[in-house]
C-alpha cells in the first residue's frame, strides 16, 4: 500500500480522534482512557501475524510472548472498562440527571 494513502488515512484518523474526544465530560475521563487503552490492544492482530509467520523457535517464542501481552491488553482492557461503566448501571436518572447523567443502561446484570 502506498505511503501517501497511509499518510492520508493517518491524518484523517488524527482528526477523528481529536474531534470525537474533544468534548467529553470529566466523569468519563477514566473510562475513556481505559477504553482507548483496550483499543490499542488490537496490536494482537499484528502479534498473531508475526507469530504465524515464525519458522524459527526464537522468533516464535517472542511472537507468542507478544500475543500473550497483546491479548492481556485487549481483553483486560475491555473487561475493566465495562466494569467501570457497569458501576453506573441501572441507576434511576429518568427525568433528572441532566446532560452529564451517566449511562442509564437499565437492568444490566451485576
Amino acid at each position: 500500500m502506498g505511503g501517501i494513502e497511509l499518510l492520508t488515512i493517518t491524518v484523517l484518523a488524527v482528526f477523528v480522534g481529536f474531534e470525537v474526544v474533544s468534548k467529553v465530560a470529566s466523569i468519563l475521563h477514566t473510562p475513556l482512557m481505559s477504553g482507548a487503552n483496550a483499543i490499542h490492544g488490537i496490536i494482537l492482530v499484528g502479534a498473531i501475524t508475526v507469530a504465524g509467520q515464525a519458522t524459527d523457535g526464537w522468533v516464535l517464542a517472542v511472537g507468542l510472548l507478544a500475543v500473550v501481552l497483546a491479548t492481556a491488553n485487549l481483553i483486560g482492557g475491555f473487561v475493566v472498562t465495562d466494569r467501570m461503566l457497569e458501576m453506573f448501571r441501572g441507576r434511576n436518572v429518568s427525568g433528572k440527571g441532566g446532560k452529564d447523567a451517566a449511562a442509564p443502561e437499565k437492568g444490566g446484570a451485576k
Binding site: 505511503g3 497511509l6 488515512i9 493517518t10 484518523a13 480522534g17 481529536f18 470525537v20 474526544v21 468534548k23 467529553v24 470529566s26 466523569i27 468519563l28 475521563h29 477514566t30 473510562p31 475513556l32 482512557m33 481505559s34 477504553g35 482507548a36 487503552n37 483496550a38 483499543i39 490499542h40 490492544g41 488490537i42 496490536i43 494482537l44 492482530v45 498473531i48 501475524t49 508475526v50 507469530a51 504465524g52 509467520q53 515464525a54 519458522t55 510472548l65 501481552l69 491479548t71 491488553n73 485487549l74 483486560g76 482492557g77 473487561v79 475493566v80 465495562d82 466494569r83 467501570m84 461503566l85 458501576m87 453506573f88 441507576r91 434511576n92 436518572v93 440527571g97 451517566a102 449511562a103
Partner: protein, 457 residues
Amino acid sequence: MTILDPTWTALLYLVAAVCFILALKGLSSPKHARRGNLVGALGALVALVTVFASSRLENIPWILGAIVVGAAIAAPVARRVKMTQMPQLVAMFNGVGGGAAALVALLELPNASDGWLRLAIAFTLLVGAVSFAGSAITFAKLQELMTTRPVVFPGLPVVMGVVLVAAVGAGAAVVMSGSAGIAVVLLGVGLVAGVLLVLPVGGADVPIVISLLNAFTGLAVAASGLVLGNVLLVVAGTLVGASGTILTRLMAAAMGRSVAGIMFGAFRGGSTAGSTTVSERPVRSSSAEDVAVLLGYAQRVIIVPGYGLAVAQGQHTAAELAQALEARGVAVEFAIHPVAGRMPGHMNVLLAEANVPYESLKEMSEVNGDFKQADVALVVGANDVVNPAAKTTPGSPIYGMPILEAGDARQVVFLKRSMRPGFAGIENELLYEPQTTLLFGDAKDSLAKVLTAVKGL
C-alpha cells in the same frame, strides 16, 4: 487457512476500524459509554476472526494457546480488581500493549526493506519500550511497591540527556543497518528512558502519565501498522494516539496544570507534590460523637470526598453514613470535584461502586451554589479541592483551579489523619477558619465511628 481474499480482508478491517471510532464516540457520551465499549470489543472480535481467516498462518495451535494464556491472566484480574486499584491495572494493560508493539516491530525488522519502514520500526521499538517501562513504574507507584513521591537524583537531567542521545544514535543505526542486535539495544534504551521519565513524577500526577503513555502506545501501534501495511492498526493506533493526547491535556487542565509541568516539573525543582510541612497554628478538633450530633440534626449535608477517602477505602462507610442520615430526614449530597481522588472522575466510580445513587453525585458547577444553604460540609480525605488559596493566593500552585466552596457552609468538618497538606503541598486556610472542626483519624475509621454515633442518636 485463507478463506478471505484481500478485498474482503480489507473491508472487514475497515468495519473493525469503524467499530473503534464508534466505540470512542460512545465512550465520550455518558448515555452510550457502556455500549460504546461493547462496540469496541465487537470490532476487536471482527478483526481477530479476519486475521485468522485471511492470512496463511503457521503455529496456529501455539497462537491460540497464547491467546488463552493471555485471556486467562487478564480477564480474572480485570474482573476482580478493586475499584481503587483500577488505575494501576489500566497502567499495566497499557504497558503490555506497548511491549507487544515493540516485540512485533522487532520481529518485523528482517522483513523491512526500505529506510522508511525501518524508521517506523525504530519508532515503535523506542516508544513501545518507553510505554512498557513507564507503565511498570506507574504501576509500582500506584500499588505502593515503591515511594509515590517524586524520585529525583542530582545527575538526572544529565542521565536523561545521555539516554536521549543513545536513543537517537541507536535509532539511526537501526534505520541504516537494520541490525537486530542494535534493535535490541534500542529496546533497552527505551526501557531505561521509560523508567527515567516516570520516576520524577509524583504519585498524584501518575494518572496523567498513564494517559500520556496510553497515547504513546497508540502511536507505537499505529507505527507498527505502517510496518505491517495493516490499515486497521494504523487507524486504531492513530485514533488512540490522537484522542489520548487530547484526553491527557483535558485531564491536566482539570487540575489547572500543564502536561509539561507534570512531566518535567521535578527537574525544575518546582515539584509541588508531597510536602509534609506541618503547621503549628491552633485548630478546633472534636470527637466522632460531636460530629454525629452536628450531622444528625442538620437539614442539609454536603459530603466532599477526596483522595483520602480512596486511600482509606471508606466509600462504603460513607455511603452508609449518607443513608443513615437520610433515614433521619437529612438531605445529603456528594460534591464531586473533577480532580478529587486518584484519577479524574474516579470519585464517581468509587461512590457508584458503593451504591450511592447517581442523583446524589453532584458535579462541581451544580453543587457550588448549594453550600450556602448547607448546614454542614463534611470533607472526607479531601484538601486541595476545597482550598480557598486557589482563589485568594496568586502564586499558589493551585491558583486558578476551580474549587468546591465548602467554606460557604455553616459548619465545615474535615476528616483527616493529621495537619499535613494535600497533594499540592500547601496549607489550607479553611482548616483554621472559625466554622471548621477537625476529626483526626483514618477516613474509614472516623466515618465508622460517626456512623455508629449517628445510629445511636
